[in-house]
């Protein structure tokens, strides 16, 4: 397949970052950006003037204190982010530079100066404007030597005979251009922190929110198939409570009232007292039944003059779960198995002073035990959750639904249903992948779903749909990526069919301790059904973020 919209300058972007990381940015000269960037969409107008003393003045709001500069071959480049120039004259020349050029790069303005042989330039921040000061070639050589003597850092030491086109520029000085200032050699950390500002088009704080494909199986399928989010869900603790809830959900004629929502694990409800850990571990059927969730919901039609009531049942079955905390895996050790950790750390309550202690003594003993062991249990679960984040599992859910037009149970008619399944594979048995990767495959089939009619406001269409989706994610604190895609086949009333696909990807690489290069792309839900053929990409972003967003490991 061919990428129709190639990532712009991606290779150059990586090259810049890698170069900056490895070479400590010898040529990158800038200042710490401490002023918050203006919001996008509020570009600042700037003015550029060539002054009589040969310097160049750049005026704009707040003194443009977030501008940065760097040296590239014989050009000195100033980038003013979030700015534009209403008009400018290209190829101007000055006393100490051969030419000056302007370029609008996305939301940033790039102003570059071609320097005379051996000359240097630097950026001076004033209260209302920036000044680009130029130093003639002979003064520049003197500054280089002084700078080398002043700073013995092996990284920062410039060569004693620098190439004529390597001209460091002081970016944060208010010393007049005619003076010979000390060169402030930025640290590697500072240099890396400036990278986001130096790459035109890169987005700062890029959120990797590309993921929009729902590959989950609902825990309460009955609520999902009816499209309701009940305010009050009854979770009966005893069979009697379940019976009471069902009775309360019936009107005086024995018909279901709307707004009933019940969610329970029926096997645990009726037989939980007999399910020991030993039994749970010994028998697959016990595990399957214990994990099975049952849901039931009723809802009334949205229209006020519609008396119909819909009801749905739901079953969620976890067929396979290698991360089940109630299964004993002593071979995984205390950090990989909840029960092993519990066994090693959770203690019984202290012994009482006698066989017949007072109620207050028992209350105090139990309170101490609960407090101490709750912390231990939390720590165990947390450690194991992190270790087993990609445990292999397979879940299936099914939810049939019915409708009664007049609210009478005797008039119930089939109203479609839904089937979901997700298989998450943690690459068991593949040591190189089992700690860092996870593959999720998902399928969903739904019938008689009510969807908004795009051609008739306020009306709905009935559709059947099938979705296949997948996601692969892998990573560690230094590098992570995520690829996901889905294919949807829809059939709406009138036998009109629609096939569409989505995909998204994202990758991040840690550049420094708190700086991640992020690249995301794909097409969104709005592109579904577009008439384009083949592989296309409607969005591509690159930028930086201070936090890891894609590392799947918790």
């Amino acid at each position: 397949m061919k990428l129709k919209t190639p990532p712009p300058k991606l290779s150059a972007l990586f090259a810049i970052v890698v170069f900056a990381s490895l070479a400590a940015g010898q040529e990158l000269v800038s200042r710490n950006v401490s002023v918050a960037n203006p919001q996008q969409g509020q570009l600042r107008q700037i003015r550029v003037q060539t002054m009589e003393d040969g310097s160049v003045k750049i005026e704009g709001p707040s003194g443009l204190r977030d501008a940065v500069s760097y040296q590239s071959a014989d050009r000195y480049v100033v980038i003013v982010p979030q700015a534009f120039m209403a008009s400018f004259q290209t190829d101007q020349s000055g006393k100490d530079f051969l030419s000056m050029r302007f370029e609008q790069r996305g939301d940033d303005v790039e102003i570059s100066f071609k320097l005379r042989h051996g000359a240097t330039a630097r950026l001076v921040f004033g209260s209302t404007a920036l000044s680009v000061l130029f130093t003639p070639p002979q003064v520049a050589m003197l500054r280089m030597n002084d700078g080398a003597a002043a700073n013995q850092s092996p990284v920062a030491n410039p060569p004693k005979s620098p190439p004529s086109n390597t001209v460091p520029a002081a970016g944060n000085s208010s010393v007049p251009a005619t003076a010979v200032p000390q060169i402030g050699i930025p640290s590697l950390k500072d240099l890396l922190a400036q990278i986001p500002s130096l790459i035109p088009g890169a987005t700062k704080d890029l959120k990797a929110d590309f993921s929009n494909i729902d590959l989950s199986v609902p825990e309460s399928p009955a609520f999902t198939v009816l499209g309701v989010t009940p305010n009050t869900i009854v979770r009966p603790a005893t069979p009697r409570a379940l019976g009471t809830s069902l009775l309360n959900g019936l009107d005086k004629n024995g018909n279901f009232q709307s707004g009933l929502a019940i969610d329970t694990a029926p096997y645990m409800l009726f037989n939980g007292q007999n399910v020991t850990l030993q039994d749970y571990n010994d028998y697959y059927l016990t595990r399957l039944l214990s994990r099975t969730q049952f849901s039931f919901a009723t809802t009334k039609a949205a229209a006020s003059d519609d008396t119909s009531t819909r009801l749905a049942l739901g079953l969620n079955l976890t067929l396979w779960d290698k991360g089940d905390a109630r299964v004993y895996h002593p071979q995984r050790g205390k950090d990989g198995d909840v029960l092993t950790c519990f066994k090693a750390n959770i203690q019984p309550p202290d012994a009482p002073s006698s066989a017949t202690p007072s109620a207050s003594e028992i209350a105090a003993i139990n309170a101490r035990a609960i407090a101490a062991n709750s912390r231990v249990a939390d720590a165990c679960r947390d450690k194991v959750r992190k270790a087993n984040w990609n445990a292999t599992s397979w879940t299936v859910a099914y939810a049939p639904s019915w409708i009664t037009k007049n609210g009478q149970n005797s008039d119930l008619k089939w109203n479609g249903g839904a089937l979901w399944t997700s298989f998450a594979y943690g690459f068991d048995g593949l040591p190189s992948l089992s700690k860092i990767g996870q593959l999720i495959l998902h399928a969903r089939y739904r019938t008689k779903e009510q969807v908004v009619d795009p051609n008739h406001a306020g009306q709905f269409l009935e559709q059947d749909s099938t979705l296949f989706g997948g996601r692969f994610r892998a990573g560690n604190p230094n590098f992570a990526f995520n690829v996901e895609g889905s294919y949807v086949h829809q059939r709406v009333a009138g036998n009109k069919t629609l096939n569409s696909g989505q995909f998204a990807f994202g990758a991040e690489m840690r550049v420094s301790e708190n700086l991640y290069l992020v690249v995301t792309g794909g097409n969104g839900p709005g592109d579904a059904g577009a008439t384009r053929k083949g592989f296309f990409m409607s969005s591509f972003k690159y930028g930086f973020n201070k936090k890891s967003q894609l590392n799947p490991q918790p």
Binding site: G272, A325, Y328, P348, A355, T356, P357, N366, A377, R381
Partner: protein
Amino acid sequence: MTDDAPTVSIKRTGSLPQIQLQFGFAQFASFRILLWDTTGHNPTEIAKNTNTPGEPDTFAIGSTVADLDQRFITWQATISSPTGGADEQFSQTATFLQDDASCPDSPFTQSGQFTNTTATFANARFQVVD
């Protein structure tokens, strides 16, 4: 808790009694079983264990049946949820066995709802009957 602990009747001619401790809802438990003298003091530990798979859940009590008359037994447990969900259920059942059968007045069950971790205490007094 008062002196009137529930009674467990055991036959003088029967086998040495045992206590079986089971925990439902697939919850984890760390428990301690103590045998006390007839005044309710000077405990002897019968078991301190967990209910993880493979561990015993039944323990012999004392050395002779006659020696158990009027003595107290207590069992305590810390019960923790492996999944850590809210409003979970627990069930703790202590069954006294003699000659492979449940003793009269047995079993003793405690149950309820909890979040994360809970703790239990129960006691009984043996009465040797002919």
